[in-house]
Symmetry: C2
Subunit: 672 residues, 2 copies
């Protein structure tokens, strides 16, 4: 989120560019918007024909620094390269190319042009050539009105449908234009605010677009009692929303007040905005907005110190685990008590030796059930540097339980820390550290409770199912797994920015483009719009039940453990309620730990303040235009072979189907 | 076109595979179709679970040679990997993978499986993995019935719409399946013929698909008077059509006759087919069907001997030129006669020296109009090895005209041939050879007639406009250009084969795919279907008129020649009358030489027997599904800069737009 508001001033005519700039800077504006070609200069440009004189002012009127930082160059507004007339089209094409090439020479930071309809085939073609032929091209700012007065005037304005269409229309201008430029991230939209405020769903859709600036016509301001220009409450909200999404502000139009006053008002408005200080996620995620990261593979790669540091700071996650462990300890004690009572009733006459309490330190590997009835064995699988061990001891203290903790960890660096903790912090605790991979250990005693936190941003994508199934032999038959269940979720989203970022991300080789659009990305998504709601995809339960054969018998592996099948496929559908462009999915998970305790990063149920997971962005190779009334159907597969796990996905809208993404895990995979 | 008919025999059960194959080969069938898994073997396949016994017969029953050349392996027909039940889906997926991997091990040439609905997401996903993981994968033959009895039964069969839908439906099964496999050329369709014959437009669409085989059920045959199985006339036509498009034939079903008789009948049917021996193109193009070639660039690269040899053999083209030159000579002589008469009337008293006849050999570069009133100067621009010079002399002999021929040629190798012809063949003719580029020559006398043949398959794509405009100074103000006008044409086509061929063509680098789908390909198209009619795109006239400035004055270059603008853009639209998939365009040209004489490769007006040009295939990057009632709108640009010419194109259907193809000529261009 932007910390500052950046304002520019638009000049409709610039009789003296230097004077205009001086005036604007003097009033604290950061930049001005001005025509690149002075309208007084007559032009007759035919390829090969000799030109008489220049076609605009000299570039000597400003310093190079001013050109490259203070000027947004506006393309002559009459230019219409998509005219129906071939002659006009060709002439205007020549003019546009001249202005683009002149702007390139000046090195202006941005070139602003206005879109006038959905047909921008030739315009976008020329801009594509501009980008292909420029070493340091400027940003392109395409301006559209928020409200299409042309559409509105055509019919009665009271007609709601027509009105909605007028709000809808200009988004199509922009979206089709951006599509033709392959969602290039150097191309953004400039929204010209209208006196009316758009409906919420229209506004939300705009917030998913790369809005580089909003133009506020001075006519929208009204004067307050003291005579200063102010905005209506609804406009204030709109401006703050846009600036929060990194839009700059351009003041434009007839000066009905001192131009300084507009700027001062906007500064005040931004400073007084409601500040969401209570969400730790907001401050934690600052600077990471829309920044794509490759998902961790903690199973294949050992985590580093920095990563442990970050995760251990989560203010919420370990509290939830502690609550779940507490509940599990209580439940086990109750169960034992019941069992003991029953057994006492039944075996009252038997030897009482069994129930004697022993304070001996446990030895691993033999003497398996001497303390069974007393000490509760908790295995922390993937203990890392110990936060879940700590949570277990806290839970034990709260419930006054006697616990034996076995901390299993495969990362030798983390084992060092764990061992140090045992020596220094947990000296009086019954705790053992076992270095090794939980999938290949055979320990006694078996655990009453297994505690693990092996989840990725999309739930099972760090291979929690495979790890926990591999460790299933460590749990007693009626033991408790924390977590006991988790689900992955997806929602179809529109986000030109995320898609463009995925397309170019680390594209060292030419073949990389496809690869990066067949990969899950961990990202704090900001500049995106949800096309439809979040729905569940895959579900995993622990301890897992085995697959059944065709006679209904549960299958087991050579160790006698249930043979689970962690392959999945799921088809999810959504109804589209607004025209949009789908660029992929937002991916989330929720997880039921134990006894009703949950952790979730699903937006509607997000555990407040939990910062350990950003969502995932799951791109699709070609963005899909979706229309109101259509249905989006996505199928996801979780594929498994003996060495790796991967996802494949396919999306259908109407008669259109995307190619299969990540066939055979060719672009992304998780190693076992 | 296939010269032979290849027939196979399908076995529903194969109690003894070796016996079946022996029987089929003994009856002269080339191969058999048989289930890869013997249905008697019970299967229970769960990953990781140990299997008891094998799941099919041993591969020792046949020789390796028989497996790799005589057996089409049929996947168990009950397998339905797109079942709604997750359990069935998973089990069948395991079975399918087992059969695929067993077939891969056997090395069978083709694996046949049947499509059962439009939903083949999981099936195609599994096959994609099969291709990704196989070094020598078999071909996949997907069989569909021509007529979907399921659809037909649902409603009254008399209803025409329902009936049409039943013919339409199975094409969608195939087409969607093939789309999901990215139109892989290793995947073909097998059509099961029905008792009824499909409507023509359905049949035509199938002929655009890669039909690898047709299945003829024995039930379609009826017995003739002598008791032998024969087909109805309509079925005969259908079978011949399909075999002409390289389909093989599979006989299937209950034997109501000796199996040899079916084969003998099919052989006879093929031998007696109507043979189109009268079209030279058919014999010339044999072996070049659907073979993609890069267009020539005769301006940038000099043609080789072989190319001249081929082109000079055209039986039609030079006849047409000769007729056009004849007409031009007649017209010039008439005009001169009129002019002479007038002048004689006006200047009767003047010196008659001007009208004296001279037999002196002309000298180039001076004495420009001494014989003007007598000899007609014909410049052949791009004379090659002389066929147009020959045509000019023929025309002169026919019209008893005195011509002076100036043959301009830039290719030094061709100049050698021309010079030899002058010495040896044209000894008595008034002919001069000028080596050099027609765009950079200044010759006297100016020409009365310029004759050139600089056209490519898409008309202007070998830069005829630029060459002739550059040579405009060589023509007298009222001189004649042959050709005087040409047009390029396009039609939207469906052709998975051409598209797949373009996609993989010469893909030495990973980035090549995009390049090859942004390039024009010269190809004799056979396996394609026209989605809509052929429409004109660009037009060029010679001598060209100059561009006008905004005051209406014609612009000229430094030499005083008209400043022509050979940039073009054109938008063409078609209504879609049948659901289809568009893979690109067929491109053609026609050319008006002079006096009503034409040459054309537009299918509807093709000059009979003219073999010099195959059409072009203009691909689009992503094939587009188009639906009855929609409109296809394509825009083509012909772009020009000082060094090169290139095309760009974009296609819109409904709300979908392709990316801009070949932006800034990044993938294909013609060098000036």
């Amino acid at each position: 989120m932007s910390q500052e508001i950046s304002c520019g001033l638009e000049y409709i005519t610039t009789p003296d560019l230097q004077a205009c700039l001086t005036e604007a800077l003097h009033s604290n504006y950061s930049f001005i918007v001005a025509n690149v070609v002075h309208p007084r200069f007559r032009r007759s440009y035919i390829p090969g024909a000799s030109k008489i004189g220049g076609f605009t002012r000299s570039d000597m009127v400003l310093s190079p620094q001013d050109w490259t930082s203070r000027i947004v160059a506006k393309i002559s507004p009459y230019i219409c390269v998509d005219s129906k007339s071939p002659v006009v089209r060709q002439r205007h094409e020549d003019c546009l190319n001249e202005e683009l090439s002149y702007s390139r020479g000046l090195g202006v930071p941005a070139i602003m042009l206005s879109l006038q309809s959905r047909n921008t085939n030739n315009l976008s073609r020329i801009l594509q050539t501009y980008y292909e032929t420029s070493h340091h091209p400027s940003l392109i700012w395409a301006s559209v009105p928020m409200y299409c007065t042309r559409n509105a005037r055509r019919n009665n304005q009271d007609d709601d449908d027509e009105c909605e269409e007028a709000w809808d229309e200009t988004w199509h201008w922009w979206s089709k234009f951006h599509e033709r430029l392959d969602w290039d991230k150097r191309v953004g939209v400039v929204l010209e605010l209208s006196a009316d405020i758009p409906p919420q769903e229209i506004l939300k859709r705009w917030l998913g677009e790369p809005v580089k600036a909003i133009v506020i016509p001075t006519s929208i301001f009204h004067n307050n009692k003291k005579g200063y220009p102010v905005l209506s409450r609804a406009h204030q909200q709109l401006v703050v929303n846009m600036v929060e999404h990194e839009a700059q502000v351009i003041v434009s139009g007839a000066r009905r007040s001192n131009i300084e006053y507009y700027l001062q008002y906007l500064f005040r408005l931004w400073q007084r905005r409601p500040y969401k200080a209570d969400d730790p996620m907001l401050s934690y995620a600052r600077g990471w907005e829309d920044y794509l990261q490759t998902p961790l593979q903690p199973l294949a790669d050992n985590l580093d110190t920095h990563t442990y540091n970050v995760f251990e700071k989560d203010p919420i996650k370990y509290d939830q685990y502690q609550r779940a462990i507490t509940q599990a300890l209580i439940d086990i004690k109750h169960k034992r008590l019941n069992k003991d009572n029953k057994e006492m009733m039944n075996e009252l006459c038997n030897d009482v030796k069994e129930f004697s309490v022993s304070n001996e330190k446990n030895e691993m590997g033999h003497g398996d059930c001497l303390q069974e009835t007393e000490s509760i064995t908790v295995m922390v699988l993937g203990a890392g540097r110990g936060p879940l061990v700590r949570a277990t001891f806290n839970a034990a203290d709260i419930t006054k339980s006697k616990v034996k903790v076995i901390a299993v960890e495969k990362n030798p660096c983390a084992v060092v820390v764990l061992a140090a903790q045992v020596r220094e912090v947990w000296r009086d605790r019954d705790v053992v550290v076992i270095p090794g991979d939980m999938r290949h250990l055979n320990l006694s005693p078996k655990a009453d409770i297994i505690v693990s936190e092996l989840l990725g941003s999309w739930g099972d994508n760090e291979l929690s199912p495979e790890c926990l199934d591999g460790a299933a032999g460590l749990l007693k038959p009626d033991g408790i797994s924390i977590p006991k269940e988790y689900n992955s979720y997806v929602a179809p989203i529109s986000s030109p920015r995320l898609w463009a970022a995925a397309k170019v991300a680390s594209s060292s080789t030419t073949n990389q483009k496809e690869k990066n659009l067949e990969t899950l990305w961990v990202v704090y998504m900001q500049n995106k719009h949800d096309i439809a709601g979040t729905k569940p995809v895959f579900n995993f339960k622990h301890p897992a039940k085995g697959t059944k054969d065709h006679e209904g018998d549960e299958l087991t592996d050579y160790r006698g453990l249930p043979l689970t099948d962690n392959r999945r496929s799921a088809t999810v559908s959504w109804d589209v309620e607004q025209d949009n462009v789908m660029h992929g999915f937002g991916g989330y998970f929720d997880c039921s730990l134990y006894g009703g305790e949950m952790i979730s990063i699903v937006p509607s149920t997000h555990s407040p303040g939990m910062i350990s997971w950003f969502p995932v962005f799951i791109p699709i190779k070609t963005p899909l235009r979706v229309h109101k009334g259509e249905t989006i159907t996505a199928t996801f597969w979780r594929c498994v072979n003996s060495r790796r796990i991967w996802y494949e996905w396919i999306v259908e809208v109407g008669n259109y189907t995307t190619p299969l993404h990540n066939a055979n895990g060719r672009s992304s995979e998780m190693l076992l």
